[in-house]
Symmetry: C2
């Protein structure tokens, strides 16, 4: 692969000149500019990004940290991030942490030594303040979906309004006539789930419907645990007439359990999800759900991060943290009535 030097020699100018025309930063005599350009074309010259990064202290690379790309909501988010990153000349490195704080820490350290320009994080459970630490060190960072109260105002965040989404969901179920709404509660460590819980409670209260602790199914060890909990709930003296699942995959498990119980959806009980994962429209019956704009969430995060990076280039410091909240929609399909 030809380098700056080779093409400089071939044209009979200095490497600096070639660098100048390639980067278009400084004026160069039009005649030589053309000659250089011709040679660049001819040799299909591509600048060595590593050398450039080393020199500049900027790699045009961002890191996307998530629990696992296997989780259905992350592929679209990841595409959102990549699509805008690419459009802006950035490369993205994806890291799966498996929710392990140690792995996350290791990755972050490693990435710093690659002169990574910034981080998009969806991996924290909220307790480890990675993002805040990063920001304190001057690293651009943005939290997507997963963050806590403490992060707000301290670091950039992107998410939907989880409280509102759950409120809307619950109110809808109520309006459909449900009165005993079971809740499939995700990992309570996560702020986003606590927010959805709040939305659920608030909607119940606003409608004057009693909250029943026996109807809140608390995840223990994965989504599969909802299979058994669903059966137990249905065995209650006054069983649920609806299930609100805090994520679509939980709804899938619930529907499965209900099916095995011979309970009809939605005739006997309604099921409502949250996320609008691509498969939710493909199952039987198609799942009603609260849609999160997954791709946009990723795109917004990347935009936010790139804004920080550029701002830092210019002003030498990070811009004040911004909060982005996207809207959710209620998608009514056939699992509710």
């Amino acid at each position: 692969m030809a380098g700056l030097k080779e093409i400089a020699e071939a044209v009979g100018v200095s490497p600096s000149t070639v660098s100048r025309v390639v980067n278009g930063k400084s004026y160069v005599n039009e005649a030589t500019r053309q000659k250089v350009l011709a040679m660049v074309e001819q040799t299909r010259y591509q600048p060595n990004v590593l050398a450039k990064s080393l020199k500049l202290g900027r790699s045009n690379t961002i890191c996307l940290m998530l629990p696992s790309i296997d989780n259905l909501i992350f592929p679209p988010i990841s595409r959102g991030v990549e699509d805008v990153a690419r459009k802006n000349g950035f490369t993205v490195v994806l890291c799966n942490t498996d929710e392990d704080a140690e792995i996350e820490r290791t990755y972050i350290e490693k990435m710093k030594t690659r002169l990574i320009d910034g981080f998009v994080l969806c991996s924290g459970n909220g307790r480890n303040g990675s993002a805040r630490a990063l920001r304190k060190e001057g690293f651009p960072a943005v939290l997507v979906n997963r963050f806590t109260e403490e992060d707000l105002g301290q670091v950039d965040t992107v998410a939907v309004d989880n409280f509102q989404g759950a409120y809307t969901a619950t109110r809808y179920l109520l309006r459909c006539g449900s009165r005993r709404i079971a809740l499939a509660y995700g990992d309570e460590e996560l702020y986003l789930y606590r927010e959805r819980y709040r939305g659920y409670c608030q909607a119940l209260q606003d409608a004057g419907v009693a909250y029943d602790e026996r109807l809140v199914l608390r995840e223990m060890g994965g989504n599969d645990s909802f299979y058994q909990m669903t059966r137990e709930a249905m065995a209650l003296p006054d069983p649920p007439d609806a299930f609100f699942a805090m994520s679509d995959p939980k709804a899938f498990v619930i529907m499965h359990a209900l099916h095995d119980l011979g309970v009809r959806i939605p005739q006997d009980v309604s099921v409502l999800g949250f996320d609008n994962v691509s498969l939710s429209s493909m199952i039987e019956p198609p799942l009603s759900t609260i849609s999160q704009p997954l791709h946009e969430l990723g795109a917004a995060a990347a935009k936010c991060l790139i804004r920080q990076i550029l701002y830092k280039d210019k002003h030498g410091e990070l811009p004040p943290p911004a909060r982005t909240v996207l809207d959710v929609d209620l998608i009514v399909r056939q699992s509710t009535n």
Copy 2:
């Protein structure tokens, strides 16, 4: 961030010495070694990977090129790649090409300038010989799932035995008593689908069952096209008594269409998929399918690639191309009988 130089000064030795102890390549006086190590510890020194790569011409980074991480089979493959890469000290950067040869080409060029050590490719439709070109240039590369006859023996490949899988699938359906087996045929440009088609035809022939062109549903413009084709097939004078879908998502669409038609699965018709994507066990009824070891496919690819990289380091050239074939299993669930 402290560099080699800083810690060298602090200890009172030369940078080379520090480099030596850090890399453990050469013997260093035990006493100084300890002092250096102590300082390394204390300053939490992390070598600048970029500088190292630039010097060595090796980045310890590999590139995973796929159509889109949104496609259900890729997340597990991607995890397989990442897991073994990480274990071996490699970072992976993921590129989504959306099946666009131009995007792929651009990505490849870009990655070369990052001194990428090698490529795992699942993105080609077979016609563009990216992998062969790469190999010719001396770049380690391995093809996963998607490749053609021409690639065999020319470049490293990793895949399941698609012919055998489809043969097994079809034979199973036949043994269950089906005689009119419709086939949901994926993109015929892809060798892997043509292989599955061969397996289907062979099994039919071996069983002495007539091949009926009207039963082969050829994808046109996405999986959703199978919805309509399923309806049409069921409207035939002698409709199918089974569907063999060349991928699980196609099976989902078929099941959906069948459901809307009021056809019962598996009582009226059987449906069999291919891939064993994680959701196939969660739908109603749970889908019988041919399981591809997705995670292992990725892991095997990464191993193969790393082997090439190491071999090249040592011998200055690539090892002869190897072919890895993994086994598939028939998973009988409840969509067939």
